[in-house]
């Protein structure tokens, strides 16, 4: 069970990293400043989890 749990956790962190890349990509491509702010706001919890802070 430990191995399975570790594999699932690693997959989730990989998923988080992928979403971080997507959000940053969309922020760069966005043409509206309001959307850019929203992208930054939703990026924060993903970054905090990715860096094992929260």
């Amino acid at each position: 069970m430990d191995t399975l749990t570790t594999i699932i956790s690693v997959l989730y962190y990989a998923l988080i990293a992928f979403i971080v890349v997507l959000i940053i990509y969309n922020m760069i491509k966005s043409k509206e400043w309001k959307k850019e702010i929203i992208y930054i706001v939703i990026l924060l919890p993903f970054l905090l989890r990715l860096f094992l802070l929260k």
Partner: protein, 388 residues
């Protein structure tokens, strides 16, 4: 993309970096705050939970176990604090006992961080303070505010449905990280299940007679100001309740531990060991759904105008007025209820007594404050200072 677009994106990105850095520092400091325990002369040894189960050794939940052992043999009591670290009165009550208690007969085992992982995080989105400070005659002592659940940094992701082991009862998904839904645990389970399994090994190996699990509850929760008792401990709980209500200046009720609600300490410890299991609940308005601001002041003073208003509409199971439920009152309730448990147990179990001295009771704590009984870690033998 023209130049002004690039400048705007950089500025917004930098603002995000600033927020990330400041919040990250706050979360990091909270997770790594060291809380000193100036152990009393009555603490004869400090063990680790990992001494009882290899699977938890060295993990975030390999917590300290403070043993207070009397010169004379007797019974053994285990007090668990911080099963839910967002309920600080239980933790502070156990802290006072670890810093002031002496046992002349029998043994007392104190746990200040039963779910240590949950002491390292606060509820995401809850706007909880990361810590709180108890004022003492020599300054302030800072404690971590915690959460109800193990940190997702230590156990993640959660399943869609949590299937409790061994009952296979379906529980809320998030309770897979709830220590008080994970009893009796299993050796190959999640971190939280391994933690409860380790405690079960401790209870079985040390032949613990009574386990006390300290909690606080919102006033809108019906199980409050009470002792929840396994059927093996109903007589004991009733005696404690009657004596306290007569002599201590506050009242506390008793509740049956439901036989079909699994994972809770008052049910599973009693079912899976020789020990009697009791759970104490004190009121914490800070946890109520209708609360206002969740700041340090509200946490410690237990005041909340919105909860008072809910009371006026008959929505509460415990009384509250403008004076609130101060942390000293809540800590005092727990400490006196623990001491009364020893005394009531001793009356009906000759030869298995646990005699505790040096610990203040409810009236003392309300009069002098919790901080009055916390020791200054500076200037004492460093070997007598442990960290949670």
């Amino acid at each position: 993309m023209n130049k002004s677009d690039i400048v705007r994106k950089i500025l917004i990105g930098l603002a995000g970096v600033v927020v990330f850095v400041f919040s990250g520092i706050s979360f990091y400091q909270h997770r790594h705050l060291k809380e000193p325990v100036v152990i009393s002369d009555g603490v004869t040894q400090v063990k680790k939970l990992g001494d009882y189960f290899e699977g938890i050794k060295g993990s975030v939940n390999d917590c300290n176990l403070y043993f207070l052992e009397g010169a004379e043999p007797g019974g053994t009591m285990l007090v668990l604090a911080a099963s839910h670290p967002e309920e600080p009165a239980g933790r502070l009550a156990a802290w006072l006992m670890a810093e002031n208690g002496n046992i002349s007969k029998g043994r007392l085992i104190l746990v200040l961080s039963a779910n240590r992982s949950a002491t390292l995080v606060t509820r995401p989105g809850g706007a909880y303070p990361p810590d709180y400070t108890i004022t003492t005659p020599w300054g302030g002592r800072k404690f971590r505010m915690g959460d109800r659940w193990s940190s997702p940094l230590d156990q993640w992701p959660d399943p869609e449905v949590y299937i409790h082991y061994p009952s296979r009862q379906n529980l809320a998904y998030v309770d897979v990280r709830n220590l008080n839904r994970a009893w009796p645990g299993r050796p190959n389970g999640t971190l939280t299940e391994k933690t409860t399994f380790a405690f079960m090994e401790l209870i079985r190996n040390e032949k613990v007679d009574v386990v006390i699990d300290l909690h606080e509850a919102e006033l809108q929760y019906p199980v409050i100001n009470t002792i929840v008792a396994h059927e093996k401990g109903l007589d004991l709980a009733t005696m404690i309740s009657m004596t306290i209500s007569d002599f201590e200046g506050f009242s506390i009720g008793t509740e049956f531990s439901p036989k079909n609600l699994h994972g809770l300490s008052h049910r599973e410890i009693g079912d899976n060991s020789e020990a009697i299991s009791l759970l104490f609940e004190a009121p914490e308005p800070f946890l109520d759904a209708t609360r206002g601001i969740t700041g340090r002041k509200q946490l410690l003073e237990g005041k909340d105008e919105f909860v008072v208003k809910a009371g006026k509409h008959g929505l509460l199971y415990a009384p509250i007025d403008e004076n609130g439920w101060h942390i000293d009152v809540r800590v005092g309730r727990h400490v006196s209820t623990i001491l009364q448990t020893f005394e009531s147990w001793n009356e009906s179990n000759p030869g298995k007594e646990v005699v505790c001295t040096g610990v203040p009771r409810y009236a003392d704590i309300v009069k002098n404050s919790t901080g009055f009984y916390l020791k200054n870690p500076a200037g004492v033998n460093p070997l007598r200072v442990k960290y949670e």
